[in-house]
């Protein structure tokens, strides 16, 4: 069996880093290790493979699970393009599990995934907003249904290959950025509740990607050299074609300026994102045009200059608070509050210091001064502390009616 011969070989990074990734001071005590069992979500990629490897090496009772979320044979015409969670990936996950000598199962999540992730993805685009399916997948599938099903298997914890860390403090659990700033995935995890953090492990969060690859190579895992998965896992072609295929395309409509002048025609609002500049096919303009608003009622895409994107602030809805202090503050009713935070508005965005204003009714606005082209309604705005380390909370950027 591939990799089996390398079991038991020591790994320095691992031995030093393991206690820190758990983020639980008492996590390594013998009683806790022996009493809990962990379901590791294994996609067949290197990160979740190493997550399983690290847990297994640490003596945890580990159960590997690959989540069957989408029927590619049924939903995709082309099989040429490798996506995450394809049968070939499950085969890799199975080989890693066999090498680690842990039980491994493929578990069916197709119904939940279709309802909670696919439908919302399609509907969000069709409403002229820009979805973030990874966040829905984490909150509704990985850290909800997977956890429930892990519990029904008799497993207390869920682990994934996310680059993020969980730290226990006197006030509660803290969700921190992964050590590798380039790979950090805490942005996708701001919906995690305290009780979820308590029973979640991110074994790779304390490492850099390079270290994870090195651990995988040392351990002889077959996934060690697998390329990164970049795009949305369930979309094999373009997102717009996917939306049109599943949800039906929106009607053609007009490009208009903010004063209502028609400057062209577009193929449906589901194809556009606020802040987008490329691919508008509007030639002959004096300055570059951006999508500054999308109006689903009129099927209009409003275009304008970079300046036209600017506002005083943007609104954030569907809030989730993660940090213990923020949770406490949000539970005290009718207490408006205001704080400074590093606000990140896209997955690959460095985060900008801003003021966050939470009104008495719980609604939230972010005073934003930086690049407005990166603020797209539908995407998540995630608030970090001023050290840009801890996730305080986050929500969805809303389309402002005032536009």
């Amino acid at each position: 069996m591939a990799g089996a011969g390398t079991r038991g070989r020591g790994c320095v990074q691992f031995a030093l880093g393991y206690g820190t990734f758990l983020g639980m001071p008492d996590a390594n005590s013998p009683t806790q290790v022996s009493s809990r069992s962990v379901v590791v979500a294994m996609s067949g990629g290197v990160d979740s493979s190493v997550a399983a490897y690290l847990l297994s090496k640490a003596g945890e009772k580990v159960v590997g699970v690959s989540m069957q979320v989408w029927d590619y044979k049924k939903n995709s015409a082309e099989n040429s393009r490798a996506t995450c969670c394809s049968p070939a990936d499950f085969c890799d996950a199975r080989r890693v599990a066999a090498a680690l000598e842990i039980p491994y199962y493929v578990v069916d999540f197709e119904r939940t995934f279709e309802r909670e992730v696919i439908e919302r993805f399609v509907e969000t685009y069709r409403q002229g907003l820009t979805p973030n399916p990874c966040i829905d997948c984490n909150s509704k599938v990985k850290f909800r249904e997977l956890r429930e099903r892990a519990a029904s298997f008799g497993c207390s914890h869920v682990a994934t290959g996310h680059y993020a860390r969980i730290e226990q403090s006197a006030q509660g659990y803290r969700l921190l950025r992964g050590r590798d700033g380039e790979k950090d995935q805490s942005y996708f995890l701001y919906t995690c509740r305290q009780d979820e953090l308590q029973r979640t492990l991110f074994p790779v969060g304390g490492y850099t990607k390079a270290e994870i690859r090195e651990i995988a190579r040392e351990a002889g895992l077959v996934t060690a050299e697998k390329p990164e998965s970049q795009d949305i896992c369930f979309v094999a072609g373009s997102a717009h074609d996917f939306v049109a295929k599943i949800g039906g395309r929106r009607p053609r409509g007009a490009f208009v300026t903010k004063d209502g002048r028609k400057v062209g025609e577009h193929d449906g609002i589901h194809r556009y994102t606020v802040g987008q500049r490329r691919g508008l096919s509007l030639g002959g303009q004096a300055e570059p045009l951006y999508v500054v608003d999308i109006d689903p009622a009129l099927e209009q895409v409003v275009v304008g200059s970079r300046e036209d994107l600017k506002r005083e602030s943007f609104k954030v809805g569907e809030l989730h608070w993660v940090a213990p202090e923020q949770l406490q503050a949000s539970q005290r009713d009718a207490h408006a509050r205001e704080f400074e935070a590093i606000v990140q508005v896209r997955s690959r965005h460095r985060g900008v210091k801003s003021r966050v204003l939470v009104a008495a009714d719980g609604s939230c606005r972010v005073s934003w001064v930086e690049d407005w082209a990166s603020v797209s309604p539908g995407q998540a705005a995630v608030f970090y502390d001023l050290k840009n380390e801890e996730v305080l909370g986050g929500g969805r950027i809303e389309r402002d009616a005032s536009r």
Partner: protein, 328 residues
């Protein structure tokens, strides 16, 4: 082998690669005529149903007979479907998911009377080692058996063909097996199957008694421990080892995983269905609700297990289902 399956001296045993090839052979042999009607039960194994589906796509008339809610095929409901052009009646002897036995001899008599020209076949893959088999008493024209179901290695099975019945070969290109199946014989497999048959016969009564004790004990205990659970096909005569158990409020797939983690290997639906999750066509044909279909596991007991296995399995099912209901 002839003695083992209760065949007459002149009946022929055609060795095949297994039950799937045997069933494909029988269906294909009967589907040549454009006006042929082919009749089978709706709960047959896919290796009968899929060849029939192909023939149906080619324009043959395929009639599938539904079982009662317990999964049993009634002789009258078969004969009532037969037309004068009927070429095949294929009704399995025992269902692989529920273990329910069909009255094959009675069905064969009724079918013979209604459609004298039809070939009458039974897939008896589930029988060896679990019930007495008498090919001659069943009164069918041909019968499928599978070696690995009773201890032979996989890759060997047979069609038992009544003396005087001609079955068109499926694999052409060789005179082997009395020109009924081309290809060099799997002598090793055939010998292994014969040896397995001898071994089964040697301890048959004891093993069957053990299976039945385990299964019945399991069903009694699980009935006490798990509120609302129910056995599919309970009121019919069944194989002694099989229990098709409905556990309300659980996903069968998850129960399979939970039991596997305790070292208990069961399956959701048929063993071969579990690789790719999908609802059981058997339970659906029985008219069971979606809930019942998705919450049924099949548990089979061996004839050489310790008696405490029944209690252990029942307790594990109870533990797992309680956890799952808490989640729901």
């Amino acid at each position: 082998m002839r003695n083992f399956v209760g065949a007459r001296p002149n009946d022929q045993i055609v060795f095949t690669s297994g039950a799937s090839e045997a069933n494909n052979t029988v269906v294909a042999a009967c589907g040549a005529a454009p006006n042929a009607q082919l009749v089978a039960s709706a709960v047959e194994h896919p290796c009968v149903l899929e060849p029939l589906r192909r023939l149906s796509a080619l324009g043959r008339e395929v009639s599938l007979v539904l079982p009662d809610r317990g999964g049993r095929i009634d002789a009258h409901s078969v004969s009532a479907r037969l037309s004068p052009t009927c070429a095949l009646v294929s009704i399995m002897a025992a269902n692989n998911e529920t273990g329910v036995l069909n009255p094959v001899a009675e069905i064969a008599r009724a079918a013979r009377a209604a459609a004298p020209e039809a070939l009458i076949h039974t897939d008896a893959a589930q029988l060896p080692g679990k019930t007495e088999i008498s090919f001659s008493d069943l009164g069918v024209d041909c019968m499928t058996i599978s070696g690995h179901k009773f201890g032979a290695p996989s890759g060997i099975g047979a069609i038992v063909v009544r003396d005087g019945v001609h079955l068109e070969p499926f694999i052409l290109g060789g005179p082997q097996e009395g020109k009924l199946r081309g290809g060099t014989e799997n002598v090793l497999g055939a010998c292994a199957m014969a040896a397995a048959a001898q071994a089964v016969a040697a301890s048959f009564a004891e093993r069957v008694r053990r299976m039945r004790t385990l299964r019945d004990h399991f069903e009694k205990i699980v009935g006490e421990l798990v509120p609302g659970c129910d056995v599919n096909g309970l009121w019919h005569e069944r194989l002694p080892n099989t229990s098709s158990l409905f556990v309300p409020g659980v996903r069968a797939d998850d129960l399979v995983v939970a039991l596997d983690l305790e070292g208990i290997l069961v399956s959701a639906g048929a063993a071969c269905s579990s690789g790719k999750p999908g609802p059981s066509h058997v339970l659906q044909a029985m008219g069971q609700s979606d809930e019942r279909v998705s919450s049924t596991v099949r548990i089979s007991f061996r004839g050489d297990s310790e008696l405490n296995v029944a209690t252990r399995v029942a307790q594990a099912v109870a533990r797992a289902s309680e956890r799952m209901r808490r989640q729901a």
